[in-house]
Symmetry: D2
Subunit: 378 residues, 4 copies
Amino acid sequence: MSGSIIYLIINNRRFKLPNTFGKLYKITTWGESHGDAVGVTIDGCPPGINITNEDIQFELNRRKPGQSEITTQRKESDLAEILSGTFEGKTLGSPIHISVINNDAKSKDYDSLKDLYRPSHADYTYDIKYGIRNWKGGGRASARETIGRVAAGAIAKKILKQKFDIDIVGYVKSIQNLTATVDTDTVTISDVEQNIARCPDINIANKMIDKIKEVRKNGDSLGGVVELVCRNVPPGLGEPVFDKLEADLGKAVLSLPACKGFEVGSGFSGTLMLGSEHNDEFYNDSGTIRTKTNNSGGIQGGISNGENIILKAAFKPTGTIIKQQNTVTNTGQEIEFGGRGRHDPCVLPRAVPMVESMVAIVLIDHALRHNAQNNFID
Amino acid sequence: MSGSIIYLIINNRRFKLPNTFGKLYKITTWGESHGDAVGVTIDGCPPGINITNEDIQFELNRRKPGQSEITTQRKESDLAEILSGTFEGKTLGSPIHISVINNDAKSKDYDSLKDLYRPSHADYTYDIKYGIRNWKGGGRASARETIGRVAAGAIAKKILKQKFDIDIVGYVKSIQNLTATVDTDTVTISDVEQNIARCPDINIANKMIDKIKEVRKNGDSLGGVVELVCRNVPPGLGEPVFDKLEADLGKAVLSLPACKGFEVGSGFSGTLMLGSEHNDEFYNDSGTIRTKTNNSGGIQGGISNGENIILKAAFKPTGTIIKQQNTVTNTGQEIEFGGRGRHDPCVLPRAVPMVESMVAIVLIDHALRHNAQNNFID
Amino acid sequence: MSGSIIYLIINNRRFKLPNTFGKLYKITTWGESHGDAVGVTIDGCPPGINITNEDIQFELNRRKPGQSEITTQRKESDLAEILSGTFEGKTLGSPIHISVINNDAKSKDYDSLKDLYRPSHADYTYDIKYGIRNWKGGGRASARETIGRVAAGAIAKKILKQKFDIDIVGYVKSIQNLTATVDTDTVTISDVEQNIARCPDINIANKMIDKIKEVRKNGDSLGGVVELVCRNVPPGLGEPVFDKLEADLGKAVLSLPACKGFEVGSGFSGTLMLGSEHNDEFYNDSGTIRTKTNNSGGIQGGISNGENIILKAAFKPTGTIIKQQNTVTNTGQEIEFGGRGRHDPCVLPRAVPMVESMVAIVLIDHALRHNAQNNFID
Amino acid sequence: MSGSIIYLIINNRRFKLPNTFGKLYKITTWGESHGDAVGVTIDGCPPGINITNEDIQFELNRRKPGQSEITTQRKESDLAEILSGTFEGKTLGSPIHISVINNDAKSKDYDSLKDLYRPSHADYTYDIKYGIRNWKGGGRASARETIGRVAAGAIAKKILKQKFDIDIVGYVKSIQNLTATVDTDTVTISDVEQNIARCPDINIANKMIDKIKEVRKNGDSLGGVVELVCRNVPPGLGEPVFDKLEADLGKAVLSLPACKGFEVGSGFSGTLMLGSEHNDEFYNDSGTIRTKTNNSGGIQGGISNGENIILKAAFKPTGTIIKQQNTVTNTGQEIEFGGRGRHDPCVLPRAVPMVESMVAIVLIDHALRHNAQNNFID
């Protein structure tokens, strides 16, 4: 009973602005940067899957702040609790609700942000869209919203692994002009997790780490590219026309905060090739139809062809910086402004599990859609 | 009566594989490359809009084959007929159905393609997805499917112009390594339409035309980049979290045939900048809040900020080429194969109205969504 | 080529106002009472199903006008053509487009209806909703719109029969105060089709036929109730909370023209019973869990329980009557008005296949939804 | 910090099985009968609406258990907390999250229910659908799930009142064979709230109360009918074809627990009338087009016509009774079973706000849809 009273108090700014993604594996995230908790509700998950808090925690730890010296120093344990949808360790087929407490939502003086539009943040656009805004923190535009995505992605990954043996491996391909060399056929999660830059090319990784430290010292920030490979995706996932697999992957990845570009297969560099160079010729690999090259990135006509799905996502430099900038207030007054407090000098290392999760959610959604229609009649 | 009988005969392979795009301005395209007609149904269009066949025809002519010496020589008049949803020249609020007859679907010998998987086409993936396929032409995977999108986009553009004075101008930014210089603040449709390459930089345009002719002679094909600017977009369009404006634009554009990459604002090149260089500082422009730079591409936090929306789409080289290639049949037999017949050596000039149309459809959809929620209470 | 020109002419008012129903088996109907054709597009149908025109024609003949002396005398052959989505007699997995020509859309003088709001029709509400209306016939509000539903329902029935051996049998339970006695365990389509009233209780059927003839002579119309049983529905179809099976069945049936009421199981009469009378006790029927009674109508907690699904739909008397009525014009002028021309004195016999079709569409949709989620992991 | 720890403990079985209803005003309910809390997330609410806890509490108090001597004696204060989506008393346009603590989820011995299928409950169907079930209480099938609906309905009512002055008044029309006489033009919420039966016909109300007490004493339960009137609904709400207003109202109401029947306007009794009696003639009421009668129940062609919307919902007798019944276990063993504990002998008085809420949610959803499309162009 007294617990209830405490609940009412501690929940007072919880559960902000959910939206929904997916057609059959539907996720709705809720919660904001400076509320008490964030989380996700997953509707449509198949029943009977073994899911534990540990499955989810592994991925959340890859995303969490304060995980290393090159991320924001906000201290969050980001402990996941599965609050519904499982029973005795298995999914029930009913919605799974996962919650994570915000421990370190410092009650610093947000009054200074009340009337201010921070450059390249969502303060201005939220205000003009709704005519009203909760100015106490970045709210739903914060990367903290992605906790729910990563938790939902952890479950999606587990089902994809169990059903198809799919591996989804993302990594930092580049930070500013530092670009890694990575073999998409062999790179593993362990390779990625061997350093705090989350870049499997150890030489470049070290340079990235140095660069991030240097830029942070200058009160500035960096951007970069996440690359991702999915291996063992069965052929046949994706729909013709509007719900092409690359279109849904693109939307999923571009909905992440700070993402400004997306490529699949040869992407923009493929525009420099001739058709005769770009076409992926088919051959017979001991009974399996394969392609000799993979400029298609594993998707043809919007449908997976069984080759590795390979994609890239561009993340702009973090908007929050310490350096002084010019901006305006909500009454149009021009002022100078300098960021304070904790922030990521470079979101790339933490973006890796975010991209992986969105990709996993798209793949499980299309796998369920494919199953509904094409595995119905024997 | 006799007309009916003829109808039944001439429609025999018509209306293939529609799918739907949009939440409130919903389009469903139907029809295929070698059927008798293609078209679109638009549900949710506001009533009372003046729409004529000419509005639609202007855009379809920009998309149609045989329009110039550098496109496929397939001859199609692509005449649009508005078959429902308008009355005395105005929209009724009920679904608009637009149909275009296929005149030049040559009954060439498709039997040679029956068992063949053309490299970098959708033959193999359709077969493995559904276990059955209509092999008589490219079907829904053909760019001819986009007629419906362009027709629906023409109406969307007209409403956006009438309501907000929005200009949407796309153009060929690059073909292979030939890259145009274009001022996004001033470029007009007339600038774009001044040459058959649909590139407003006339010097580069001429080089592009020469390059396309040369590559066609060699039986090969080219790719490139379409860039697009939307001017006068009101601030406030787009939704936080999953339906960010750039995410929906990305999905829309990536669902076009042959599109392999998408960028908004600074895109991939923005990853080379520092945060202090990339951030768009706000200023007060005689009472309007504006940004000094536009690395955000007109979208912040997923919502339009009133600046120009600027995006890029990468199109791979056309899959159909004359040169001999290796491939396999549906029984796994390895064979040599050379394309015959008419095809585009470079899709870029015809891709311009396709990209514009998908962007217009996303903008009108988000404008209606915004209107539903945020213009409801006075 | 000349065929194309004729097509453009004869299609001129075709394809009106489609809307969509269903989540995975999605149908979009188009066409109107006095256009040239009506039809449906079905998206999401499983591939590899044997479908013929005859499968669809059998159901359309049960729906068509002029089928007997107690229906409207409008003469329509209602011949179905499958125009896409099948290949060599099997479904492709891509959208199925079915079209039916309107042969007998008499060009009578609709000018008299131009400014008139017919009582209990949709003239007034369409006008006030959209501010504009095509007054040339009942348009989308006509029961002719249901051709597409019946065609889509015919395919749904075929799949349900092949996969689960489900029988869906509807019949006229009552017309005015004439109520039939029917055994839901044994009634067959043949029992229903044995007379033109589509009522399996032959004594009551004859009285119904006499009553309809008498009322028609008086220039008036009748309403009644369709009852329907589904046998062999597997347990497990339906979703908790909002998409309960009875809720989706109710929406489907209530969306039919003239339907004003819906019941499942005991319905309104169940409100007269005590809980101890109404509860359906479970028992073990040689290893199958069954209920002794079936007041639940085969659905518990929104999910099918394996017993027969039994429901009722109330249809009001036809709005179009010959008798003089008072009404107003669109300028508010009060006038007297008498219907002319052909109409159904009682829609009930023709409503039977409409109700069956909507039920079949809901069941196949829920079967696919169930398959997607609950038959994914072995 | 310590608050967080308590949160983790007290939330342990919270947030079960949400689903979603509505297209633009979307509600997702969560929580279950014997968890720690229940609630709702509302997405798409217009911004700037004044909303207080009191607005919601008024409606929740009408729904809550233990409110009178004829409801279940489960003691719940059902205190609503708005946890997100409002700021300084106004809606933000972002999702509104409302939570209600379960205080009286008695930890009685549910082990006795573990293997048991209660007659006319969802135990069996949940088990067979998912192959796994949380047997600790009725879960999502409990009427406690409707708290979220009533909270979301309270906000919908407030917006409808502010924007259109719409009144939505529901009441108990009948319990078993006791039927009230009510004037739909004048009945008010105060009339309804004057007695614990929530029946505005005081003579019948007293008989209802006596009947409920008597039946409870016998360990049995009762059903009945809720009637509802909406006054001042603007003409034009609802969509042609599948999303007819009566179809969406029907689905909304039939998705409530224990609802087995739905009628609009004349409903089933309209099937006994002649067309000439049933048709609602139009007349000119000082410039407003009105109908003399209202057998249509305020809806014609699926669209509101400005007359009162009148509908009825049939609720079966409560499934939980004290009397002994036969049933089976999940292994098929036949046993005798008698209900224990607190339950409603008749759900009707508490069903009134549930029906009102679902109706309000459908109306606001259709009002937003109408606004999106038909109030876009001036």
